[in-house]
């Protein structure tokens, strides 16, 4: 993986051109944009009334209310601002797994991140990146511009997923670093302490961030499609375990399903947009389908 052309082909870009990534919540941008802001300002979108105080612009005085009630009220309007999107990628050793010549999960996550970054850049929104394993390895604050997108992609390509993971600690640290409300897109296999991970996600939510959680898994991880008895070696810890996959498949799937269901439930409670994605799918199709669906459901 070297540059933008490796992660985003022109064909993929063409597919992504029409897509829009919006936050479901209000965000605190640094300039005017297309996203809802918690601030009231100049726009055509009426928000509410408040009593006139000295110094208010008389242009905003609602004369119709004054005519009916003989009280001074000024009209307030919704302010629209730019979106700060933070792509957070799990760069731990387990993300390096890829079966049957497919992309590794990290590569796949990078491609999704690049696609989202491309969409965000096209919206003139700010894009930030954080790569972590047991701690934050790379962090780029949210900025906009095509140069920044290139830097974003170079950082993705430069990272080697090989260390153990500590998602909870890394996300907590990140939550402290990102102060303004924005959109957090977390790409991880979530093979970590589930409680710690979701406490960290709750931390984001508490800070009013819109969080998208994309759990990236390899097809072989989903169905344990190995035929022969094998000695499995943990890619992060080096631990070994000999097992007959055919015999263990059912239990494995049950356990994994349980873990996925647990994620879903917790995401639902925290109002986090959760998706499970297999690296067998085409990433641009997934992004397109996901954003379309997200837009439809937000409508």
């Amino acid at each position: 993986m070297a540059g933008i052309s490796d992660l985003l082909t022109p064909e993929a870009m063409r597919k992504l051109e029409t897509l829009v990534l919006r936050s479901r919540y209000v965000v605190e941008g640094f300039r005017a944009g297309m996203h809802a802001s918690p601030l009231k300002g100049a726009s055509v979108e009426f928000a509410d009334h408040r009593q006139y105080v000295k110094g208010d612009n008389l242009r905003n005085l609602d004369w119709k209310v004054f005519g009916r009630t003989e009280r001074y009220y000024v009209k307030r309007f919704e302010e629209e601002t730019s979106l700060r999107t933070h792509v957070v990628i799990d760069g731990s050793g387990s993300m390096a797994y890829g079966s049957d010549g497919r992309f590794s999960k990290y590569d796949y996550a990078c491609r999704i991140a690049a696609a989202l970054g491309y969409i965000v850049s096209r919206q003139q929104d700010a894009l930030g990146l954080t790569i972590f394993d047991e701690e934050i390895r790379s962090h780029v604050p949210a900025r906009s511009g095509s140069h920044h997108l290139r830097h974003f992609i170079e950082l993705l390509a430069a990272h080697r997923p090989e260390r153990p993971t500590n998602t909870g600690r890394s996300l907590h640290a990140l939550a402290e670093m990102v102060s303004r409300r924005g959109l957090i897109v977390l790409l991880s296999d979530l093979f970590d302490n589930s409680e710690a991970v979701f406490r960290a996600i709750a931390h984001f939510r508490k800070k009013m961030h819109d969080v998208i959680l994309l759990q990236v898994l390899d097809p072989c991880e989903l169905d344990l499609s190995l035929d022969r008895v094998a000695e499995f070696i943990d890619m992060e810890t080096g631990e070994k375990l000999e097992i007959d996959p055919a015999l263990a498949r059912l239990s494995y799937k049950q356990e994994l399903q349980k873990a996925i269901d647990g994620c879903r439930e917790k995401c639902a409670v925290l109002n986090v947009d959760y998706r499970l994605v297999s690296t067998a799918e085409s990433f641009e199709d997934f992004v397109a389908q996901y954003l379309t669906e997200r837009r439809r459901m937000s409508a």
Binding site: R24, Y25, V26, A36, P38, L39, S94, M95, Y97, K105, D189, F191, M208, D210, L217, D218, E221, L222, D223, L226, R228, V229, A230, E231, F232, I233, D234, M235, T237, E239, L241, E242, I243, D244, A246, L247, A248, R249, L250, S251, Y252, K253, Q254, E255, Q257, R264, E265, C267, A268, V269, N271, Y274, R275, L276, S278, F286, Q289, E293, M297, S298
Partner: protein, 718 residues
């Protein structure tokens, strides 16, 4: 439990197949780098133990299946203790063969092996059930069927076993198996067992097994059990041969010989070889033999005075575990004056003119016994058996009775020497069909001496008398007969003109000489020449020397009627144990078919009881006591080997009243196969269960969780 086809148990090696496959499968484990073992560990904890147990169970069932098949093929039978649980006993036909060859006389711990073998045979009879048949045979060189038809009367079998006596014959194991095969082929029923009580000498198993263990053997279903009295290898040495250099001996003359002693054991042997002739010890030599070695001990002794025609000698060493082969018997014919009958054709006139005159003088020279001279006409009524040679001097023709007499005489090993003369005519001689040549005519020779050539220098008649350095002298002949030789006739001496001088041919055991010169002076001065007397005496001596032939025999061989024995008189045969039997007069092929014991067998008439002495010795192949190795025995016949009475009793206790188990084992194998199939199927189902469940990816099903996708109002506020 015992197995009737133990060879099939080698198939148990097939048990390695599932084990090797199992281990091989385990060795084929590949290493896979995987993202996390978190879920695998939980799955492994649930499945590993049960999987391991199931795999071990599967392996066990597969091994058990193979084992049951192999065991069933080995035809196991159940011992009596539990036989009733499985439907009772199977009747048996048991053939007991007790080896009573010489080697079974070997003493081990104070008991002969034959006695031990008989005790073992009786133990087998004791273990028989009332419905079991039993046959008994004594197995020497010729199996002796004591109970030929399998009988239910075990008492008779016991008596027959007890009656088996030690023999000195050679073992013939192939004959034992052949006889056993014949016995069970007579429609016996149930299990068929051959108990062969033998020391199982390695030498006795050296026979071609193919004709013995043939298709008929396989069909017989005989299960052989070789029962050895012990598993010892006792030391044994034997005198295996004695060779006397001279064909006969005379009292006071030196006798040289060589005795061969062989050490068959694995220990060195120091002993003393003693040679006795008659009652007198004539030589004694120390011997020192390495294990397995043999040595020839030369000895020379002066012949003691012995009565009779034969000197009986024994070469012996000190006794060991097998005394039967420590002595070697030999008989030396004692030289006796040849008894010659001269039948002359011309008896009229002065004595010098009689055709046998010079023969009588020449034969009487230097001997105590003068030849008897008769007219040829008296040959009709004169018994010839007492004479070692009959000289016919110018006999023109013979009567029918004389011809028959001479024919029989020749057939009993006698010697006839014919000297022609003026009376001899081709027609007259043509009737004498025992002569080896036909007279064609008589020719005159010019005066002078005619030299002779020795045609067969090695012939016993000439060997010690004339040779290259001492040529046969020239003869002053004036007449010579022209002869046409029969196909079997040979010219021993030939005149320089090519006409044969001494013609010889064998007539059965007898011998006939034609001397082509007259015994009187009618054809020349041959009777006066220096060659006449030695030639005549050589013929007479040669006729008496033959008596030593055929006197050395081995146990089991027949004793022939030798020329030393008269055919027209009753004969007495004295055996080594002193018993005597009388054989009627007349033609008989043999004196005894089968010499059973070693020692001296004396045959003769009431007047002279030892005309012929046979020295009979046991075959020394019996002296090698080393038993065949069980593995080597298996290559000949798949037989079970049991050693000693205790082991036999144990074996009998196990095998007695057996129940065939192989049908049950086959059923069990079938059940195990079914169980294995079910378990394997169950495992396959378990393995495929996980394939049916799929984890859904993609769209999040939030509605099902009851959580609105829309953001809460509280979050929109600043």
């Amino acid at each position: 439990m015992t197995f009737l086809s133990t060879g099939m148990l080698f198939g148990l090696g097939a048990l390695f197949v599932p084990v090797i496959l199992h281990l091989w499968r385990r060795r084929r484990v590949v290493q896979v780098r995987f993202s996390t073992l978190r879920f695998l560990k939980v799955a492994a904890a649930r499945t590993s133990r049960s999987s391991r147990i199931e795999n071990i169970l599967l392996l066990f069932l597969r091994c058990l299946f193979f084992a049951l098949l192999v065991l069933a093929a080995a035809r196991p039978v159940l011992s009596s203790g539990t036989a009733h649980l499985f439907g009772g006993d199977v009747p048996r036909t048991v053939v007991l063969a007790v080896d009573n060859s010489m080697s079974m006389s070997c003493r081990v711990n104070g008991t002969t092996r034959l006695e031990s073998a008989k005790a073992q045979a009786l133990a087998v009879i004791d273990h028989l059930k009332p419905g079991d048949d039993v046959a008994v045979m004594a197995a020497g060189d010729v199996p002796q069927l004591l109970v030929a038809e399998p009988t239910l009367d075990h008492r008779v079998a016991r008596q027959m076993v007890e009656s088996i006596l030690p023999g000195e014959s050679l073992s013939d194991f192939s004959a034992v198996f052949r006889e056993a095969k014949k016995i069970v082929a007579r429609g016996t029923h149930g299990l068929r067992e051959l108990y062969f009580f033998t020391d199982s000498q390695e030498t006795a198993w050296r026979f071609d097994p193919k004709p013995v263990f043939d298709e008929a053997w396989d069909k017989s279903g005989l299960h052989p059990v070789v029962v050895r009295p012990d598993n010892r290898n006792p030391p044994n040495a034997a005198v295996t041969n004695v060779k006397i250099s001279a064909p006969f001996a005379a009292a006071g003359t030196p006798v040289a010989g060589v005795a061969t002693v062989e050490n068959f054991s694995e220990r060195p042997l120091q002993d003393v070889l003693e040679i006795r002739v008659g009652a007198e010890r004539v030589a004694q030599k120390p011997i020192d033999l390495a294990p397995g070695a043999s040595m020839e001990v030369a000895f020379e002794a002066r012949m003691p005075q012995v009565a009779g025609r034969w000197a009986e000698g024994v070469a012996s060493i000190e006794g060991d575990n097998l005394p039967a082969d420590d002595k070697f018997y030999f008989a030396i014919p004692v030289f006796r004056q040849p008894r010659v009958l001269v039948a002359e054709g011309q008896q009229a006139g002065a004595p010098r003119l009689r055709s046998g005159y010079y023969l009588g003088k020449a034969l009487a020279a230097g001997t105590a016994v003068a030849p008897e001279t008769i007219s040829s006409a008296k040959l009709d009524e004169t018994p010839l058996e007492g004479f070692s040679a009959v000289f016919l001097a110018d006999v023109a023709n013979l009567g029918d009775r004389a011809l028959v007499r001479l024919g029989r005489y020749l057939q009993s090993g006698g010697t006839v020497a014919y000297f022609p003369g003026d009376l001899a005519t081709p027609a007259g001689l043509a009737r004498m069909d025992f002569l080896p040549a036909k007279l064609l005519g008589v020719g005159e020779l010019p005066p002078g001496r005619l030299s002779t050539l020795i045609s067969e220098p090695g012939h016993p008649l000439l060997a010690n008398a004339w040779d290259k350095d001492t040529p046969f002298p020239a003869l002053p002949q004036i007449k010579l007969g022209r002869w046409k030789l029969d196909a079997d006739a040979r010219s021993l001496l030939t005149f320089s003109n090519g006409i044969p001088f001494v013609i010889f041919a064998g007539r059965g055991p007898g011998r006939v000489f034609i001397v082509n010169a007259s015994a009187d002076r009618a054809w020349g001065d041959f009777p006066l020449s220096p060659a006449f007397l030695p030639l005549v005496q050589q013929i007479a001596r040669f006729s008496s020397e033959q008596s030593g032939a055929d006197s050395a025999r081995t146990v089991g061989a027949s004793l022939p009627v030798t020329p030393n024995l008269p055919a027209d008189q009753p004969l007495l045969l004295k055996l080594p144990d002193g018993t005597e039997s009388t054989l009627p007069a007349g033609e008989k092929p043999v004196l005894k078919d089968h010499a059973e014991n070693s020692g001296f067998y004396e045959a003769g008439t009431t007047r002279e009881p030892a005309l012929q002495v046979f020295s009979v010795n046991a075959d020394r192949r019996e002296s090698a006591l080393r038993a065949i190795e069980p593995a080597a025995l298996q290559t000949i016949v798949p037989a079970e080997t049991v050693c000693g009475l205790d082991e036999l009793n144990l074996w009998l206790a196990k095998s007695r009243g057996v129940v065939p188990l192989w049908p049950a084992l086959l059923l069990l194998a079938l059940a195990v196969f079914a169980a294995e199939a079910c378990l394997a199927n169950l495992l396959a189902r378990n393995r495929s269960q996980g394939d049916e469940q799929h984890i859904r990816t993609g769209r999040l099903n939030k509605r099902r969780l009851g959580v609105s996708f829309r953001p809460a109002e509280t979050e929109t506020g600043a």
